[in-house]
């Protein structure tokens, strides 16, 4: 995590202090800021820490008192809950489905969106600008607008409760943002480069694969991270369009009803389901931050 985190600091402007005197007064003046930040930082970590520790307690220990008692007698932790979780076929199946859907619904929209974005950015054809405006308009269509008709369509097409059904739905709803982001990125590719390639007789397909895609990698990376996080963490779509083949979040959602009695399953499942996105996030934090900025700041 530290290397990824270092990426963030690199953007920080460095204020150069001159001399020991000013530096000391400055440090003292900032003591309250430090204290406030330490408290806030610790506070922000408590909930996730609580989940992790709870996931390491035996049901009887968890029933006895708060997870913070763990710090008083840290010898009681155990990985039994995780072992039991991985022995639970329902959970492992849900994790496999989550992985399949996430991989499919990340690669597919990137391929489809970059092709479309290339056409919208670099191929002249009538109605191009209108098409892009429609895509921008679709950006704001809430998922809810599609759930009922797609639920019924899937029942007739036998796509209900299938991995391809989930992938296609996620892909379609990822496209407007993906096309929007990539078109704007591709449009920034130097014109001379494109012209030179065209003069050399490169076909559109060749241009796309050999010039635009490689140059677009930073944007594609940002997009991929967003999509992984979004699809992996989705609850609503999986809840509506799947049942026995539901990804992890919707699969466990029903367990929330007996909250408390099944914490030994809920806590490790919730924590483990958070580990993958956390890992992705930690590894590619720079792209994530850049994507956030590109997506929202004009």
């Amino acid at each position: 995590m530290s290397t990824a985190a270092a990426e963030v600091t690199r953007r920080e402007p460095v204020v150069i202090d001159k001399g020991i005197g000013p530096r000391l007064t400055r440090a003292l003046g900032r003591a309250p800021v430090h204290i406030v930040l330490v408290l806030l930082g610790v506070f922000w970590l408590i909930p996730t820490t609580g989940l992790f520790i709870t996931s390491l307690l035996t049901p009887s220990d968890a029933a006895q008192g708060g997870w913070w008692n763990f710090f008083a007698k840290p010898s009681t932790w155990t990985f039994d809950n995780y072992k039991n979780m991985f022995d639970n076929e329902g959970i492992t199946h849900a994790l496999v489905v989550t992985a399949q859907v996430t991989i499919g619904a990340t690669i597919l929209p990137i391929l489809i969106a970059s092709a479309a974005a290339y056409a919208l950015a670099w191929i002249e054809f009538p109605g191009r600008d209108w098409l892009f405006l429609i895509v921008v308009g679709l950006l704001l269509v809430p998922v809810q607008m599609a759930l009922i008709p797609i639920f019924r369509l899937y029942n007739t097409l036998n796509l209900f409760d299938t991995v391809p059904g989930l992938i296609l739905f996620h892909t379609a709803f990822a496209l407007p943002f993906a096309i929007f982001l990539l078109r704007n990125f591709f449009a920034g590719i130097p014109r001379d480069l494109m012209e030179a390639a065209r003069i050399d007789g490169a076909s559109e397909v060749r241009l796309f694969f050999k010039v635009v895609l490689p140059l677009g990698l930073p944007a594609i990376a940002s997009l991929a991270i967003f999509q992984v996080l979004f699809v992996w963490n989705d609850l609503l779509i999986g809840l509506v369009l799947a049942q026995d083949n539901a990804p992890i979040a919707p699969a466990i959602a029903s367990q929330l009803r007996q909250f408390g009695s099944n914490l030994d399953l809920l806590a490790p499942a919730a924590f483990f389901s958070a580990v993958i996105p956390l890992a992705v996030f930690a590894m590619f934090q720079r792209y994530f931050v850049e994507g956030l900025l590109a997506g929202s700041v004009k």
């Binding site: 996730t48 056409a119 405006l133 809430p142 009922i148 892909t171 407007p176 920034g188």
Partner: protein, 448 residues
């Protein structure tokens, strides 16, 4: 700005190096090849369902009857939907402003420390965690029992410093010689004058709750010019007479006894000894009432019911802010980094205080970025669903419900109310239209 910064201008078109030109169908064919998969998916999975949902919203829940705008009327008449509307309004009013403010504060603070990375990581983590996991996390945090829920444990710890649990939290009068309530204090029904002896018997005290160091209760001697008395546990195994101090009955030390005048105004107070006795000396002639102060009966902190009907929405909102603060901090932090240092330094050399610099320079220069965060949050908050489902227990779900939640609940959680669900979805879309218009306008303006 990062290198992925968006350039919204279209690449100078018109005289563009055109695709291998030929017949007009070919000029369509190439772009179509690139666009076809996207167009197909968008048409089947977004555009067709969107139109179908609008159409469906005009029919009854089972779909066999045209009902016009009845489903939309239900949004504004059904009790649960009114609650959802109210909650959505609260979310929109509170959260975008709160998240923007928290993000701004974090971004400004974090700029001033060298170890900002550690802080950023801790605020960033929730952003990657699924809202479902966030739900589990906060269900654990919000548990009511202060021995299990960390939030209530924190409050109990703070409160324990301010006010302690009473010596006797469960005690009740042993006879009707005492009246009143534990909350208001128990008072002897009969008045006492100087030289009188007050006997205040209590029961319903578990053996384990008898204060440490208590001894056999003693009926004190009358006190010349004063009032004496005893507070004791008026109970002994095998019975005994209520209202009388007997063998094996213990005194209750540490109890606050108050002396009140005829107007029930407290004029003195004292504390009982190991045998339960107490004394007020030098009491002027008159009639008084002797009472046991309410603090004796103070209940231990039972925990705030965060997940109950009344607090559930604020509780979910807090969890949401916990998740989103990192997002706001990053965006605003980037805007902050783009502010020219010279401007700030110039203001400081001119003698502006840090707060003035913040108010008059930083915030106005950040306005566009703050707007972006604010608008993004409105859009996100209007669709809020996951957190409601994950944090609210079944019993308070109706009070936590939002439009997106009721849409799912009524359509897919057993009731198949597709007509209503379609109407709620369409209503949500309508709420987005202002943002849609803003977006489209912005891009058309930039395209020119």
């Amino acid at each position: 700005m990062s290198s992925t910064g968006i350039r919204t201008e279209f690449p100078p078109g018109g005289e563009a190096p055109s695709a291998p030109s030929g017949t007009s169908w070919r000029s369509w064919l190439v772009p179509l090849g690139f666009l076809a998969p996207a167009l197909l998916l968008l048409t089947v999975w977004v555009i067709y369902p969107m139109l179908a949902t609008m159409w469906r919203s005009l029919f009854s829940d089972r779909g066999n009857e045209f009902v016009g705008i009845d489903n939309y009327e239900r949004i504004f008449t059904d009790d649960r939907l009114l609650t959802a509307l109210k909650n959505n309004a609260l979310w929109v009013l509170i959260i975008p402003a709160a998240v923007t403010a928290v993000g701004l504060i974090f971004a400004v603070l974090v700029e001033r420390v060298r170890w900002s990375v550690a802080f950023k990581i801790s605020v960033f983590i929730p952003l990657a965690v699924s809202l479902f996991a966030v739900g589990v996390i906060w269900r654990i945090m919000y548990q009511q029992d202060p021995d299990r829920g960390a939030i209530n444990a924190g409050i109990a710890a703070v409160q324990g410093v301010v006010s302690e649990e009473g010596v006797l939290s469960t005690a009740r009068p042993s006879s009707d010689a005492l009246s009143g309530t534990p909350q208001g204090g128990l008072t002897l029904t009969e008045t006492v004058g100087p030289g009188g002896v007050a006997q205040l018997g209590l029961t319903a005290i578990r053996a384990t709750e008898v204060p440490e160091g208590s001894e056999q209760a003693v009926r004190p001697e009358a006190l010349q010019g004063g009032i004496s008395g005893v507070v004791w546990r008026d109970f002994k195994p095998g019975g005994g007479t209520a209202g009388e101090v007997e063998d094996e009955e213990v005194g209750l030390p540490g109890v606050t006894v108050e002396l009140r005048d005829a107007d029930r105004k407290r004029i003195d107070s004292t504390s009982t000894g190991a045998d339960g006795t107490f004394a007020f000396e030098n009491v002027p002639a008159g009639e008084y009432r002797v009472a046991i102060g309410s603090q004796t009966f103070a209940q231990p902190f039972k925990g705030i019911n965060w997940l109950g009907d009344s607090l559930i929405t604020p509780a979910i909102m807090f969890a949401y802010i916990w998740v989103t603060a990192g997002f706001a901090m990053v965006i605003i932090g980037a805007g902050l980094a783009a502010i020219p240092r010279d401007t700030l330094e110039a203001a400081r050399t001119d003698g502006a205080t840090e707060f003035q610099v913040f108010r008059r320079i930083t915030v106005p220069l950040l306005a566009p970025v703050l707007t972006v965060v604010f608008v993004t949050q409105i859009i996100g908050v209007l669709k809020i669903f996951d957190l409601v489902l994950a944090v609210a227990p079944g019993s308070s779900q109706d009070n936590a419900a939002t439009l997106a939640f009721v849409m799912w609940q009524r359509s897919f959680s057993g009731q198949n109310a597709f007509g209503l669900g379609a109407a709620i979805s369409t209503f949500l879309l309508l709420l987005f239209i202002p943002f849609l218009v803003i977006n489209v306008r912005r891009f058309r303006a930039e395209a020119r």
